[in-house]
Symmetry: C2
Subunit: 317 residues, 2 copies
């Protein structure tokens, strides 16, 4: 088994450079001090996100290629929430010297393949020694339409969410309990994001849990939100694993990477026309009301539900 320390950083990088091709908009590709690219004069969206071994994933939970795809996908999700389409990507790898070359190859291949499928190119990166595997991606997305922020939600808006919630949180719960299995893949909502951006007052991707991410929107917009627990599109796997607690679990689970959208009444007809082309389910889950940044969850009887935790904080004790 070959490890990175046997091959060396520069040999590994040179071998990879030969595999990465040129592409549209790339003037100078990977392998130089910086990649040089161009877009068609449109604004572009910039985002970064990191996955750290032992914090965001364990190696037993997904193979190397799936990990590479996942790093791309969590970043693409941020672009989707701005209505932007991925165009260029960089991947910064931190790895221990004893990492298997096959694993590093797998991560890079998975990332590059996911980028290509999304219409983007891996144009650069970096490899550093570190105690643990950590992967930071940077994506440059082309803003092809208006970019809805977190601050645009207004009282009277309807709240929608794409896809389903709770599948990854339920999987993580089972894996942590020692059951065997894999993390479900992250949904691709880039196309949905571009379409929803046309009608959204505000949009965010649900990465730290619906309640927490909706809270970010509420605070940024200066409004409250009312969400019906019964209206949440709970993933089947989550429902089977959590039973009656599934909806409140899914409301705070995190890592859904679905889009949460706030749509004003005057654009609801336009929204309905978009739905068949979104490529995913779209569920109405509540509404925006006047307030100062609080998310209220209601059960079927209309009673407000108190949650023990509101979402994910890397550093909370």
């Amino acid at each position: 088994m070959r490890r990175l320390q046997d091959v060396g950083e520069h040999v590994w990088i040179r071998r990879w450079l030969r595999r990465l091709g040129a592409g549209p908009g790339i003037l100078i590709g990977p392998g130089d001090d910086a990649a040089v690219v161009r877009t068609r004069g449109r604004p572009f969206a910039l985002t970064t996100d990191t996955l750290v071994e032992g914090v965001h994933f364990r190696r037993a939970w997904l193979d190397a290629r799936a990990l590479g795809r996942r790093v791309f996908a969590v970043n693409a999700s941020d672009l989707a929430a701005m209505g932007a389409a991925p165009r260029f990507a960089l991947l910064a790898v931190e790895a221990p010297p004893r990492i298997r070359v096959a694993d590093l190859d797998g991560v890079t291949a998975g990332f590059a393949a996911a980028a290509r499928r999304a219409g983007a190119q891996l144009v650069g990166g970096n490899v550093s020694r570190a105690p643990r595997l950590a992967l930071t991606a940077f994506l440059v997305g082309e803003a092809t339409t208006r970019s809805p922020t977190r601050a645009g939600a207004r009282a009277g808006d309807a709240l929608y969410v794409t896809g389903t919630l709770g599948a990854t949180a339920a999987a993580v719960r089972a894996l942590r309990a020692g059951r065997r299995g894999r993390l479900p893949p992250i949904p691709d909502r880039v196309r949905a994001g571009r379409m929803l951006a046309r009608v959204a007052n505000a949009m965010i991707d649900v990465s730290d849990g619906l309640v927490q991410d909706l809270g970010h929107v509420c605070r940024a917009s200066g409004v409250d939100a009312e969400v019906e627990l019964a209206a949440l599109p709970v993933a089947g796997a989550c429902r089977r694993a959590l039973g009656a607690a599934a909806a409140s679990f899914a409301a705070v689970g995190g890592e859904d990477y679905e889009l949460l959208v706030s749509v004003p009444p005057r654009r609801l007809a336009a929204l309905r026309r978009l739905v068949p082309a979104l490529g995913c389910r779209l569920s109405r889950i509540g509404r925006v009301v006047a307030g100062r940044g609080t998310v209220h969850l209601h059960d079927l009887a209309g009673r407000e539900v108190e949650l023990a935790r509101r979402g994910f904080d890397h550093f909370a004790r």
Copy 2:
């Protein structure tokens, strides 16, 4: 003393967002899923580099603000080597929960200040929990002139290097030996890079040691290089610490972040006209000859010098 785990990720981020202003070209600033920016229709350069605690620095070697400035500077150096000027920056922080908030503030403030001084804006980032402090920056630079790659060196070119070599490597050597001190700051060669890009056949920044980085140029260009050890601009501190061995030490030391430039004979007159405006010393250190990727070092007597090590590899044993 407040630690990050006492404050929480989201509170810390929100407080920072209030301090980061808007700026030219920024349509949507920090705090959303992605920043949205625009350039003036020019190509742009993308680069990323990581500093890991215990690998690239120790906390005793530089204070938090200097660390933040350093992360910006190592990335800006890559842009300088492409003749590009920094415009937008993202900072991905990995930190242990017990990190002092004051340290995290210092790193971010140092980074943001260095970006502003260079004409760039910090428009986004990420904070993740990790066992050790690691900082990955991503810079978008505007390519304001032609971008010289590593592959353009031709036999007959003259080789030049900016500034001086060996100061950081000598400081690291002393610090590792237990002496007290600080890492010297990284030189700002963005202006020099933009000017030198106009006359360079090839350019690279010297981060892993002159011999190794020149080797990258030689391999990419399909040429050899001949370097006169006596012509290397060895930093005073390095010369004092290493004595007679200073030049060969400086040739492989690394972390100089100076620019190595390969200039064809027909552009030497233009180069001479640029020198007074570069803002730094420029030394002729050798020449490019026909070959297949090897760097030859010569002493004063013209004899070829063999080096025990050729430069820095994160993973070499």
